[in-house]
């Protein structure tokens, strides 16, 4: 950590050592903390995934009992979503939003620090539940926390609810900070319409998070009430309904998918123009599409509840709502293609990840459309298809965009070059691993293999085997990323401020953000 600190932020060191990181409030330091923490959680959550995949390598229970399996699949989802992907996006926001809009820092630097420091405690609490096996262990009802099953959990379930509440607070603080920064601290001349696409997508995602997170917090608080204070919100015996919890959860959960994918769309919209050496096609229509997608995210939650017995009118409403999301998604993809069209393309590592994102986003989006169509969802709901779709969007989608963004901005953050050959090796292995891991799951889902089962019928063996091999390839490939980052930080060759030939945008024009209000640069376009 100390060596990392010296290398990354030599230019504004105030105090050296661990203390510097504990007391940091600067947006770059907090951004680095977020990113390092997210990477650590990626490896922990990834190790859980590999353990689960190892169990699924062949039929029969060989490595663990079903209870441990259920605990791991619950924690894997929580750690990956709340501990890895969302914090990574927060880290990118903390680093990049001030740089890209010419602000001196985030609007509330200490809130920024608080938002981060809630994470290690919350995630430690989550992971600690694994060591409570005597009293039921970690939560084992899935990250969806469906009652009444979630009521059967022990102390671990309570602690996990507490941890997720903390994570909700952290996410809300980060979102508030992003909104305040974008509205209050833009450089003069940077109107909302001129916001770089990464900042715009984060702004929209932040609003969506502020609307959606209270629903999750509410669902969890009501569950705590049911568990310990004699309420019966989700218990039919007292006039409650377990499906209320599902409505609340998916109002959040459906939005969460968009919260995680929209900033990824923003990252890719920064990378593609850089390596196409051509401005983003249709800046305004892309921005409007992102906003429309966020609005539609709020009316699609029932598409996750097709088997709960919604009345036909309700099922149709949610079906149309979820289907409509394909319209803004298509607009964004069309604009990306038009951005590439007649550009002058080169294929450095960030570009490779961005291009893969476009294809995987299209694939995962089309799979999402199949799931949105309620009659088809009768076949696919709660099968491996849903696992495949979610992972295409979150791994081949959000994670690839984050990795691309990391390679893209690493020279800007560290002032050093990364190893392009290793970066490309990392990309190709990740691409191969991810598709080998997730494509067979579409097949398994179509054939009717349920999700969240530790053991399966014999005809599902072959695709599961491929999926496990792919997952291990994907996981091991991330060690290359770790090595590349460490080597870049510790001794990469010096890089210019404007590292990429085609890079436009404020973050590439100055070594350090200006100090003090009103000292910022002037700008007339998102790509000056």
């Amino acid at each position: 950590m100390r060596k990392l600190s010296k290398a990354i932020a030599r230019r504004d060191v105030q105090s050296i050592g661990l203390l510097r990181w504990l007391t940091a409030t600067g947006h770059k330091d907090i951004g680095t903390l977020y990113l390092v923490f997210a990477l650590a959680m990626l490896f922990i959550g990834g190790a859980m995934a590999l353990w689960l995949r190892a169990e699924l390598f062949a039929p029969g229970l060989r490595l663990m009992g079903p209870h441990v399996y259920n605990q791991l699949l619950t924690l894997h989802a929580l750690i990956m979503i709340f501990g890895a992907v969302l914090p990574a996006l927060s880290g990118l926001a903390s680093w990049q939003i001030p740089l890209m809009i010419g602000a001196p820092d985030m609007a509330f630097p200490r809130v920024n620090a608080l938002g981060f420091w809630l994470l290690p405690f919350a995630c430690a609490l989550l992971l600690a539940t694994l060591f409570l096996q005597a009293s039921g262990g970690a939560p084992a009802a899935g990250w969806t926390f469906y009652p009444p099953l979630s009521m059967q959990g022990g102390l671990g379930a309570d602690l996990a609810i507490l941890a997720v509440l903390m994570l909700c607070v952290s996410a809300a603080l980060t979102a508030l900070n992003a909104v305040a920064t974008v509205f209050g601290l833009r450089a003069s001349g940077m109107t909302l319409v001129r916001l770089p696409m990464f900042v715009w997508t984060w702004l929209v995602a932040a609003f969506l998070l502020l609307v959606a997170a209270p629903a999750l917090a509410g669902a969890l608080l009501l569950q705590l009430g049911d568990r310990h204070f004699g309420t019966q919100f989700f218990d039919a015996a007292g006039g409650g309904d377990p499906r209320f919890a599902q409505h609340l959860f998916w109002f959040f959960g459906n939005s969460a998918e968009y919260i995680l994918i929209l900033p990824a769309v923003g990252i890719v919209s920064q990378i593609l123009p850089t390596f196409a050496r051509k401005p983003l096609f249709g800046h305004v229509s892309t921005a409007l599409a992102v906003f429309a997608a966020a609005c539609l995210a709020l009316i699609g939650w029932g598409s996750h509840m097709v088997a709960t017995g919604l009345p036909p009118a309700g099922a149709l409403f949610f079906m149309y709502g979820a289907m409509l999301a394909a319209v803004p998604a298509s607009v964004v993809v069309f604009n990306w293609i038009a951005t590439l069209w007649r550009g002058s393309l080169s294929f450095e590592t960030p570009m490779l990840f961005a291009l893969a994102f476009v294809l995987e986003f299209t694939l995962g989006g089309l799979a999402g459309l199949v799931l949105a169509l309620a009659p088809l969802d009768l076949q696919h709901h709660d099968t491996q298809s849903v696992v495949a779709h979610a992972h295409t969007m979150l791994v081949s989608g959000a994670l690839f965009a984050i990795l691309g963004g990391a390679y893209y901005w690493l020279p800007r953050w560290t002032g050093r070059r990364y190893d392009e050959r290793l970066g490309k090796l990392h990309f190709w292995l990740s691409l191969l691993g991810a598709n080998l891991a997730f494509l067979p799951q579409y097949w398994l889902g179509a054939a009717g293999m349920s999700r969240r089962i530790p053991d399966y019928a014999l005809q599902f063996t072959e695709p599961n085997r491929w999926s496990t091999v792919g997952a291990f390839l994907l996981g091991l490939a991330q060690l290359i990323f770790l090595y590349v980052v460490v080597r870049t930080v510790r001794g990469g060759r010096k890089a210019d401020v404007r590292f990429w030939e085609g890079a436009r945008g404020l973050e590439w024009t100055q070594r350090s953000a200006p100090r003090g209000f009103g000292a910022g640069p002037r700008t007339r376009s998102p790509n000056p």
């Binding site: 218990d235 096609f281 017995g309 459309l369 005809q459």
Partner: protein, 286 residues
């Protein structure tokens, strides 16, 4: 590893085309009773679902191919390495105005048949008979109110096959001690609830999947076209036994069904005294 039964049969032209075109689902549609990739539908609703599925899949493949095609062309032709100079355009008002119309029309094309199928699947009115399903941790209970029959259905796979090294038989995890026996050709209405936590009753070949929610009644229906054994598994995470509560439906002719009912009745009184959990009602001998 494909466990294909003797009823192996190719599917219709369109569906075979759809599956064939997509490399991912290459082997085409076959009717294993619970096989890969898409189980053969045996109810009118399941058939309509598969038709719609194939239609949508073709549309998705076309869309994906178009995206790939345009991108590939750019990636090959517009490379910096070929000395291609970048154009300067940053938008196109007409094109951008047309963008949303393309997916919207395609969606409308899918929404119309999807709405029809959904409404058909939701209409459980005027049934010929009713079966009540109750989900337990971790087995199913089936009640035939008119025939006055009631029994539990649990996993029949022996423990040694799951945890031990005993060789796994062909119906590993998909065999139940007492299957649900239904007559073919009748509209069967199911009402479903649960005893403890939420379960989901799902049989892909029947095109049904319905949550069993404690304290509430769900409703769905199926009208099975041809005799056979159709299998599924619990679809909603319900605890440690979630992977171990198979659903086995045995569709038989009306005469065989009546025979089975009378056979059950003769030993039902004995079964009732033993209490729940006993497997008094044996599988029909057909």
């Amino acid at each position: 590893m494909l466990s294909v039964t003797p009823t192996l049969r190719p599917a219709g032209g369109l569906s075979r085309l759809a599956w064939g075109v997509s490399g991912v689902f290459a082997p085409g549609l076959v009717s294993a009773d619970y096989g890969l990739p898409f189980p053969k539908p045996v109810t009118p609703v399941a058939e309509r679902i598969l038709e719609l599925h194939n239609l949508v899949l073709l549309g998705c493949l076309a869309a994906f191919a178009l995206v790939c095609g345009f991108m590939l062309y750019s990636l090959v032709m517009h490379r910096k390495g070929r000395g291609f100079k970048p154009a300067r355009f940053r938008g196109h008002a007409t094109l951008e105005a047309l963008w949303p119309a393309v997916p919207f029309l395609a969606l409308a094309g899918a929404a119309v048949p999807a709405t029809k199928v959904l409404l058909e699947a939701a209409d459980a009115g005027k049934p010929h008979m009713t079966v009540a399903i109750t989900g337990y941790q971790w087995r199913w209970k089936y009640d035939y109110p008119v025939q006055d029959l009631s029994f539990f259905s649990s996993l029949a796979t022996p423990r040694e096959q799951i945890e031990g090294g005993a060789p796994k038989d062909e119906r590993y995890l998909l065999e139940a001690d007492n299957p649900l026996v239904l007559p073919v050709g009748l509209k069967v209405r199911f009402v479903i609830t649960a005893h403890d936590v939420i379960h989901a009753w799902s049989v892909p070949q029947l095109g049904v999947k319905q949550d069993a929610v404690p304290g509430f009644l769900g409703e769905f229906w199926a009208s099975i076209d041809e005799p056979g054994t159709y299998r599924g598994q619990c679809a909603e995470l319900c605890g440690v036994g979630h992977g171990y509560m198979p659903i086995v439906v045995q569709a038989v002719t009306q005469e065989e069904f009546d025979l089975w009912v009378s056979g059950q009745k003769s030993n039902a009184t004995v079964a009732a005294r033993k209490g729940p959990g006993t497997n008094a009602a044996g599988a029909p001998r057909l």
